[in-house]
């Protein structure tokens, strides 16, 4: 199963049939295992990595550091939950170090980010402070280098 997950993590577009060939397994069995992983939420979702900068859109991404007061009996989970339920929020991590929660917003305008922080995050009673960092340029995303695909510069035929 680990191999199936590794392959899908690299390339979610692989079909169960293709994976079965690559791993020398029965396609039905692979299909079943993938379904099982989806059911157990081991496979949480499938997504496509898009370099929006190459399109006409020019969305902004921001990383917001939050210092928060943990709740009695709930720790940070309850605060995190209140935050991640906003559709605007792409990612939420609990962090060690100088702040507690990292909140990542994707695909917004600068104004939208600013408003979201000012109106939604900062006023929460558990939030002690916020620091908003805008992403200026993405070089590598989830293991994928964002710049133009390297050309195959090998000689076309070598023996």
């Amino acid at each position: 199963m680990k191999k199936i997950l590794e392959l899908l993590e690299r390339d979610a577009s692989l079909t169960a049939e293709q994976i079965a060939i690559m791993l020398d397994r029965d396609p039905a069995e692979v299909k079943e295992q993938i379904a099982e992983c989806e059911k157990k939420n081991i496979i949480v979702g499938y997504k496509t990595i898009i370099n929006w900068e190459k399109t006409e859109n020019e969305p902004v991404s921001a990383i917001i550091e939050l210092k928060v007061t943990p709740q009695r009996g709930e720790g940070f989970d309850e605060v995190a939950k209140r935050i991640y339920q906003y559709d605007e929020v792409a990612t939420v991590y609990l962090m060690s170090g100088g702040f507690d929660l990292a909140v990542i917003l994707e695909g917004k305008t600068m104004k939208e980010v600013a408003l979201f922080v000012a109106e939604k995050l900062a006023p929460m009673e558990q939030v002690i402070s916020t620091a908003t960092h805008f992403v200026l340029k993405k070089y590598k995303v989830d293991g994928n280098i964002v710049s133009d695909k390297p050309k195959d510069t090998r000689e076309v035929i070598t023996l």
Partner: protein
């Protein structure tokens, strides 16, 4: 000026590479997909490249000792102990060369006398025969067979040995067939050679790229180290083709002669490449494993693809090539390759580029992304099975 009479008869007698014309057509075609490349598609891992950069920053731009940096030779010796279980003295039995190709040339030149016979299993890489001829020897092809998974058999070897036989080339894992020799297969060969004065040139450049079982070196079998020149390099295993770095390991007596040729012809292998290679051989085992895993996935996909379209293809266990038979199409290898290129813009290498016995086969490399391989397979299927062809 009459060049023909001035130029070396021996060199003029060697035919140029048979695929030149074909290569020219492919090069002109802008959007062709090539499965013809004999090198990894991976870039050399960054930590290895970085060591070369560092060596340049440090100003290490001088010659090294003729045989190569001692530290590199030590690491190579450790590597051989670790991977193939054979011990060599880094001071006297290892030489760092300009690619595996130079090591092959050194070995042949150090061993053969005019008139000696060099046994070359075919289909195989193209350099053994010309090297033998240039050294004044005669290259004798040993035709290996599809039904034997292109292994060299004891019987084939025995039938070819004459009193003039000096050297057996053992090119496994094999380019172009992907065939390998198991321990038992090698034992058969060793049993023939042990009581004879015949040397083995074991070209193990694809030794790290075997699938499902570990590569065995003939030098690790009892009594064989003393009669073997082992050739290996960094090109395929570490994706370092452009660095031009290989090595040979051999008993001291042979190595002394090889070093002389290298010293006068080459001086030493490129210094920056040698520093990069130290990093590769010391800390590169994981890179090899990672790339091997990717090749293995692609191998499964391409073998499956050829078999499904009806071009029978034995499952290669080494290197990064498949060698499907195209006899069912009624075309020769050359015709197949050229027609495929013109109608579907897919470049493969006709089997005949690797010896006459490659007739009826094509070599396809799977050192390409899965997406590329799938696209190529689709087009070859269209060509073979006439789905919308021409």
């Amino acid at each position: 000026m009459n060049y023909e009479s001035l130029l070396s008869q021996k060199v003029q007698g060697i035919p140029p590479s048979g695929i030149r014309k074909f290569f020219d057509i492919v090069s002109e075609m802008k959007d062709a997909i090539s499965l013809g490349v004999g090198e990894p598609d991976f870039v050399t891992p960054w930590h290895i490249r970085n060591e070369a950069i560092y060596s340049l920053e440090k100003g290490r731009t001088y010659y090294t000792s003729n045989s190569g940096l001692l530290e590199l030779r030590r690491e190579i010796a450790l590597y051989m102990e670790r991977r193939i279980n054979v011990s060599y003295d880094p001071a006297n039995e290892v030489i760092v060369t300009v690619g595996g190709s130079e090591a092959i040339d050194l070995c042949i030149r150090a061993l053969v006398n005019p008139g000696d016979e060099v046994l070359v299993p075919e289909p195989s890489f193209v350099c053994y025969k010309p090297c033998a001829i240039m050294a004044g020897a005669k290259a004798v092809p040993l035709v290996t067979k599809n039904e034997n998974k292109f292994k060299l058999t004891k019987e084939e070897l025995l039938a070819a040995i004459t009193p003039k036989t000096k050297l057996l080339v053992l090119p496994y894992p094999n380019n172009p067939t992907g065939g390998i020799m198991t321990k038992e297969d090698l034992e058969d060969i060793a049993s023939v050679l042990r009581d004879k004065d015949i040397f083995v040139l074991s070209d193990e450049i694809y030794g790290e790229l075997t699938y499902g079982r570990e590569h065995i070196s003939i030098a690790s079998l009892p009594g064989m180290r003393e009669r073997t020149v082992l050739v290996n390099g960094f090109s395929k295993s570490y994706a370092m083709t452009g660095w031009r770095l290989g090595w040979a390991a051999a008993p001291k007596e042979v190595m002394q002669q090889m070093v002389k040729i290298h010293q006068y012809a080459i001086m030493c292998a490129p210094t920056a490449s040698q520093y990069a290679a130290i990093e590769a051989v010391k800390n590169g085992d994981e890179d090899i494993a990672r790339m091997r895993e990717q090749y293995n996935y692609r191998r499964k996909v391409i073998v499956d693809g050829f078999n499904k379209m009806g071009l029978s293809c034995f499952e290669p266990e080494g290197a990064f090539y498949v060698f499907p038979s195209i006899q069912s199409t009624g075309l020769t290898s050359d015709e197949f390759a050229e027609k495929l290129l013109r109608s579907q813009k897919i470049a493969v290498v006709p089997g005949t580029a690797f010896g006459d016995s490659g007739e009826g086969f094509i070599r396809c490399s799977y050192a390409y992304s899965i997406a590329n391989i799938n696209e190529a397979l689709e087009r070859i299927d269209r060509f073979v099975n006439g789905k919308g062809a021409e």
